[in-house]
């Protein structure tokens, strides 16, 4: 039996994992950066029926042209089934039209709360933070009103903290039973966290993050090692298949041939910002 061997980057892995998690025929509110690339891969590869919604107002474009550089750029509007503006997109999300929100962040806690606003003491340093991040954009709206959310994160210890600097996008809040409903939120909250090392979910009771699948080359221990809080481990934890040649070929030759968005193994390129 012959075995192929092909190098791939952790960025390629996260995109592939994101694409595989997306359910076909669902409405996915797609955040900018890696979620956008993973969604395009999913649509082109196996889930042709996914209906992307972009916060700038486009619903269901086929994304047949090049990868959009922005969730509001021309490529998101072409041949869409509806194009208005931000209010229209968020209003339909609040109504319940979006099955999934697919969103990135800079920092995450065990309950899937995301920070994309600031590093430093809040509220004391809010007006002069240690590091200023872009701000919510539509992330907190997606996290509030999409029925479920899928979070996408580079897996680094400094980004996974028991207490994050600022809660931009609500996950399970303090993790207590009914916390989201009590707060007045509509969606059910985070469904999966897709990282550069693992696919994680949330415990039904404690709402804390748990490892579901480990990528090739990672173990429960190595993943825990890269995480700033204690992770739960699903009893059925299993390995996650590495990218297939078909997936890699789609990314490298069709979706991002210039390697603008997704790092390729050979030529190193600066990671574009994901917020």
């Amino acid at each position: 039996m012959l075995v192929t061997s092909i190098e791939y980057t952790s960025q390629e892995m996260i995109v592939v994992a994101g694409a595989r998690i997306l359910e076909d025929n669902k409405v996915v509110f797609v955040g900018t950066g890696l979620p956008m690339i993973a969604t395009v891969l999913a649509i082109r590869h196996r889930a042709h029926g996914i209906i992307p919604v972009f916060e700038a107002g486009a619903v269901g474009p086929p994304l047949e042209g090049g990868l959009p550089f922005s969730v509001g750029d021309s490529r998101t509007a072409s041949r869409a089934s509806f194009v208005r503006g931000l209010n229209a997109a968020f209003e339909m999300t609040q109504r319940g039209f979006c099955d999934y929100g697919f969103v990135g962040g800079a920092e995450i806690d065990p309950y899937g709360n995301l920070n994309s606003t600031m590093m430093g003491k809040f509220p004391e340093e809010y007006q002069k933070p240690k590091a200023r991040l872009p701000g919510s954009g539509g992330a907190s709206d997606m996290a509030s009103s999409c029925e479920r959310t899928i979070l996408i994160m580079p897996h680094e210890r400094r980004r996974f903290n028991e207490k994050i600097n600022y809660v931009t996008s609500p996950g399970y809040l303090d993790g207590s039973p009914g916390a989201r409903e009590r707060a007045g939120l509509l969606g059910q909250g985070p469904h999966r966290v897709i990282t550069t090392k693992a696919v994680l979910g949330f415990d039904d009771e404690t709402r804390r993050m748990k490892i579901l699948h480990t990528y090739a080359g990672e173990t429960v221990e190595s993943i825990q090692e890269s995480t700033g809080f204690e992770l739960l481990v699903d009893p059925d934890v299993s390995p996650f298949d590495p990218p297939t040649i078909e997936e890699l070929t789609l990314i490298r030759e069709e979706i991002d041939p210039l390697g603008f968005f997704v790092k390729k193994p050979v030529k190193e390129k600066v990671l574009p910002n994901q917020f």
Binding site: F69, G72, F90, T117, K130, S136, G137, D141, P170, L185
Partner: protein
């Protein structure tokens, strides 16, 4: 005005003042074509709350920001949902010449460049505490403009309940009188001026927007004055052949300025895709500023903005083949033969 309205901190106009100003305004169908210089000079003043059209690096009103920078303003408030180059240009001007141009406050949801990365100028401005910040979500800001466009004092919204955003902004949370559950009440935004770039307008101010509307209609109708720059001016009888394509009605517009490439180097659907290289170059200069070296950025402003007589001078810096490249890219995105 009731005492409560006075007590609440309204930036831009209060709802009452906004109503009154609009009622007293000449809303007739008249020729509003103007030079950009005259429009900026006439409608923007120190201390104003200026709403910025577009969404991140799409249809940003770049030409209008250049004119604002040349003019110089003090203590502006900038209001927008997701901002890109327009905000960078304005804030960069403050970083370089705070005596000439200054921003006091920003009400916003996002300032960065998506695939093109963070804004080093934002980091510089914020991490040095140079601007008062009020963070909101994109829907919050869009809904606040919508509430203004509707003549309301507030609009309800469910996101982002439970977040830290609510701890430092002026939203109020109340129990819904129909369900008893928490709901956010967002205060309306009535900016003093809106600056918007569109594809097509007539001389009266009717505007057609291709691709995302962003929140442009809402800010045009909420703001006291609206300055529109456009790629193309067409006769009224042409634009009204398809009334449902008109995205902003003339009576919400105060100045119509013909500025081809007025959103360049950002994306303007049907006309040009991003000039990615130029955006990257500008950010590199911003990064050097953040690291303590403002020289490159200062040279950029001197060449492209302060040293330019108008936006045409800025566009003249780009070789025709580069402009054609962005045009050709955009033609590939556009879904039909034009």
């Amino acid at each position: 005005m009731s005492s409560n309205e006075e007590q609440f901190f309204w930036t831009g106009l209060t709802p009452d003042a906004a109503r009154k100003a609009l009622v007293n305004k000449d809303k007739s169908k008249r020729d509003k074509r103007s030079s950009l210089k005259d429009a900026v000079n006439r409608f923007i003043k120190d201390g104003d709350n200026v709403a910025i059209g577009g969404f991140v690096d799409n249809r940003q009103p770049v030409a209008a920001t250049f004119e604002m920078i040349r003019h110089g303003f003090k203590d502006l408030t900038l209001s927008y949902q997701s901002g890109g180059m327009a905000i960078d240009y304005l804030a960069g001007a403050m970083a370089l010449r705070p005596d000439h141009f200054s921003i006091k406050r920003m009400e916003f949801a996002y300032w960065a460049h998506e695939s093109f990365g963070l804004s080093p100028i934002f980091r510089y401005i914020a991490e040095n505490g140079m601007v008062e910040l009020e963070d909101w979500s994109n829907y919050n800001m869009s809904a606040r403009f919508k509430a203004g466009a509707m003549g309301l004092t507030f609009i309800p919204c469910r996101s982002p309940l439970g977040s830290d955003i609510l701890k430092k902004c002026r939203a109020k949370v109340m129990d819904c009188p129909f369900t008893g559950r928490p709901i956010i009440l967002l205060p309306a935004s009535y900016p003093n001026v809106a600056i918007i770039h569109v594809q097509t307008a007539d001389m009266f101010g009717n505007c057609v927007i291709n691709g995302t509307d962003a929140t442009c209609q809402e800010i045009a109708m909420a703001a006291d004055y609206t300055i529109v720059t456009c790629e193309r001016i067409v006769p009224h009888r042409v634009i009204t052949r398809r009334p449902k394509e008109i995205g902003i009605p003339f009576f919400a517009v105060d100045a119509v300025v013909h500025v081809p490439f007025g959103a360049y180097p950002t994306n303007c659907r049907r006309y040009y895709y991003f000039n990615k290289e130029h955006i990257a170059t500008f950010h590199a200069l911003g990064t050097r500023l953040r690291k303590g070296d403002p020289k490159g950025l200062a040279a950029y402003y001197d060449d492209y903005i302060f040293g330019a007589k108008g936006f045409e001078d800025f566009i003249d810096h780009f070789p025709v083949r580069k402009l054609l490249e962005e045009y050709q890219s955009e033609m590939q995105n556009f879904e039909r033969m034009v």
